[in-house]
Symmetry: D2
Subunit: 334 residues, 4 copies
């Protein structure tokens, strides 16, 4: 951490600060130039809040040099992590597609889609049982009944299931029945939920918040890993910007950035990332070419009648053709 | 809801859609012009998801005309709501300031601050017992012990207490001990928490999410009110933009916009909204001049040693002087 | 255009508005439902400003249905446009890479880079002679001398040259010497310059503004085409968002969106779009997989000594290897 | 400037960099801690581009400590600047309102509005002769004829005139006839225009770009001042964010931030900043309470028939009443 002093800082003020920092165990060094004077703090500064120093009217700015994340960073874990669930792997050179409907609607629906996506080559089945909806009057999901239907689909197809948890109330049910627990974009900074899910030590799919920075995503993963998770998948799903032609702005550059900073696998959700089914193919292929470890794709057998997100779901036929193209691009870049 | 058809829509496609909508109880009307054909749907369309229609390749766009919120809107509740707690009122011509530290740190700290802000004219005491922190390694608050200290401060000063809930785990404690339950920006779309807190039927302070639209804030309040809350205070606290000179960009125009759309009281938090104590005064005064029903201001007796948010907290002395200026501006605009 | 009336609109107010619109030649139709009353305007509404109607206190909102662009849209020009310069084509199934340094620095530099990129397969040479710099104290480019050096490079390599114009002052020089005139992001809404360049009827490369919507980019192209341009290339180069891990957020979904709305070729600039040379490869490949018609890549022989943008430039060796990978991905998706 | 080295930097790499920097005249100092090694560069680093160092794979990050602006900053010019035009002052304790229509439409219109706003207490008359419009098919202003009408209005009312220049083509006309030359938001980074207008040494009103940071606004002013301007007024007029309830998000905190960093006067445009006439009053009063040196307000005698921006213009009657309220708030805070 570097403390940049204002030109008018008085020597006695600086001395007092220096002593305070030394008492807290930091090594303090001066950097002086013609027009600048800074203090460099060395030691473990991860517990220091840089902003507090700016209270002092003789401090101009404070710069944090160390990354605030430890467990998720590459620094102490240079090799790629591989998340493995029922024999399916993501990360470290393993690519996997997670597919399925926005929400589980009926046994017939989820079974039909699960069979189709399994046949097309998906490695995981996704399906929402609890749905975060911006309106209290919208369909909120089938709840625990939805989880039961997902279990039936898993049994029939062998696909591990991915489903979103919205509240610690259902921790036990998810720990027992769900193979990869998803934490959605709107709960990415629900720290109580992150802490509770972390303790389950189950595979977790963590989606980036709508307006969360890459660093905040890594800090949310840090909560999971500090709690005990070792198998965390990061997911880019679009951020909120001024552009309204798409539902969100898919930030594909987050893939190589995340992979350079973290050892965790990174997947992309082009369905939520764009909000329109006809943009799913180009953005899925772009994600693969850009280095993603996997994809999360919404597939619905009757998109026009879907209870949510129909406009961004592709049909099973479309998905099958898309999987072939994904293979082609993957082969071209690996 | 208006469905705009593409120029190449076939009559039989339009006819099928028309019948489907009529079967669901909507009145369907044609709007035809030289180059456009639209269908207008009348009836209660609040349960319809406009996006689903755009699946049809003959549909160009769909426009929702009705506001998605009912209980929070002015349409069926034209007069201002007044939130009243222990004789203190906010809204409908009543102005109140909520003040206190970011987090409760000790009995001495909270009592000292509570007495100071009470004397200066604050109507409520704020203090965090559970703190949402982006790092798992940062101070997370004193928890239930913090609530106990707030109760002591309430007893000594008579100030009702405002504190943030982060998880449904502590619903009972908050229902018993906290006068105004705060839902923080990062939990504004934690729908499970909104639903649970709504059921308590206690006064709630709902902060706008970092990247939430004004409509989403009203929908979050709708969750609370649909659950049973009747006393909801909305709080603008800055949104995330590209500008980095301030911690967030305080959107003061949200105040008159919210007040035109909703009957609920609207307050402003210039401390989080700017992130710097020296911007608190100009933005507090601006909020009052812009029509806010109240303010939320972080006050700390030793900001340089605060365990969080020290750089945005003002001292008790500063707060006392600020309250006088606030009165002056309030008088000038009322 | 649809005018949504407020519930309390008086019949005589609506009648007056209806007559005004009919007098201006529009067909006005009523859409009435249980709770809504709208007026649909048919005819050429491209000259109407929807906002003006919201002045009337009985109007709730106004919705524009027609797209505001004509010449750039697919509606009256369904087939792809192909831009052809000195035998090199972009668009309509033709893919091309534009490469070169941020700015022309010396004859040796531009010749060396031009030869390298030509050999690696680039179809065009880019190089800045006039540089838009946020500081008046930064290197501003060699000006007309830079154009002379580009001409030398063109003569030696046969590559057509792409260079940015910053002011109408140099229209003549650019018309005479530059094969594709670039309008940079910061001038995308410099309407005087758009109009003047449009009149030259030369090929133009139009970059999206930092915070311009896709619709605004198409409207800027509309200025060029209304002025006389027929050969316009659109370029996505990253937008400004809250994320600071990259210089800009490259909006790759803009590629398929632009191509669905417009017949113009769309290329991507991963160098400016990310700001870091190590992100250029993944984003270049992603752009190709996502359907781009070309790429704009900064190449510098000595990036560490470049007078601008060194951190986002790749070396000629890197570029040669990248071109091979680009070919692979292109083959996989076409 | 501080160069943060990566943990794996080799001593010989660091040594080479150190020598290069010393040769360029900088004093280089080491800052070493348990886990970090940095180099501090002292001297005039305003010409160094921090990004170039990040090309070296042994450099982690580079931090610029000095502000990039000199003439606009408070460092070497601590006292407030006062802009004075025809006896009217803005800044340094002087408050002034600039009012008038979006665009000059006719002699009758501009004269009528000019008289009304003069009588109500406005100090300057604004009126657009050249209009930046996103569509080439929209009304583009009366051009030089518009300037003539403004001169008539000035003669009749004594109000100095403020009008926007869009192109260097009309430099001479503006230098001769316009008292305060406005550079609009879309041209804030039209560096050629900034340089040309700076050379005129006339008072300039510089509006913040839609997505320009506060630092970029100060750098644009630096262009003007480096060219020769000494009388520059900065104007906050709303930035582009994800919120769509308002046309832009008025960033009122920019006022105190700008005033702390710069000596130049800062005014606020609540008309463009919000886009709706009914938000002009609360935001105008908020701006005054927040410390603005002036306001820019769109006034139109027949807003519903205005050729542009009618929805954000207030009537002369409304303006007169608003001026009284502005006085009240101004008195309360000064």
């Amino acid at each position: 951490m570097i403390i940049v002093l204002k030109p008018n800082a008085k020597p006695e003020q600086v001395e007092t600060l220096r002593q305070q920092m030394q008492e807290r165990g930091f090594i303090v060094q001066d950097i002086k130039g013609e027009t600048t004077h800074m203090l460099g703090l060395a030691g473990d500064t991860s517990g220091l809040s840089p902003e507090n120093f700016t209270r002092f009217d003789f401090v101009g700015s404070v710069i944090k040099v160390q990354e605030p994340y430890k467990l998720t960073g590459r620094r102490f874990h240079p090799e790629d992590s591989v998340v493995e669930v029922m024999g399916r792997k993501i990360g470290g050179g393993n690519f996997a597609v997670i597919a399925g409907p926005c929400s589980v609607e009926s046994e017939e629906q989820i079974l039909s889609i699960a069979r189709d996506v399994a046949q097309a080559g998906a490695a995981f089945l996704r399906g929402g049982a609890f749905k975060p909806r911006s309106s209290p009057y919208s369909f909120q999901g089938l709840g625990l009944d939805g989880l039961e239907l997902l279990k039936v689909a898993r049994q029939k197809t062998g696909l591990p299931i991915v489903s979103e948890i919205m509240s610690s109330e259902y921790l036990e049910a998810f720990a027992k029945d769900v193979d990869v627990i998803q934490i959605g974009a709107r709960n990415m900074q629900n720290f109580a939920l992150l802490r509770d899910v972390g303790r389950l030590r189950r595979p977790v799919l963590l989606k980036r918040g709508l307006s969360s920075t890459i660093e905040e995503l890594l800090m949310a993963a840090e909560y999971l890993m500090a709690g005990g998770s070792t198998q965390v998948i990061l997911c880019e799903r679009g951020i909120r910007t001024f552009e309204t032609a798409t539902r969100n702005t898919l930030d594909l550059s987050a893939v190589p950035v995340l992979k350079s900073k973290s050892h965790l696998p990174v997947i992309v959700d082009p369905s939520h990332g764009t909000g329109y089914w006809h943009l799913v193919e180009p953005m899925a292929l772009a994600a693969v070419a850009g280095g993603a470890d996997g994809l999360l794709i919404e597939v619905h057998n009757k998109p026009q009648q879907a209870l949510c997100d129909g406009q961004q779901s592709v049909t099973p036929e479309f998905f099958r053709a898309l999987m072939k193209k994904i293979e082609g691009v993957y082969a071209a870049v690996h």
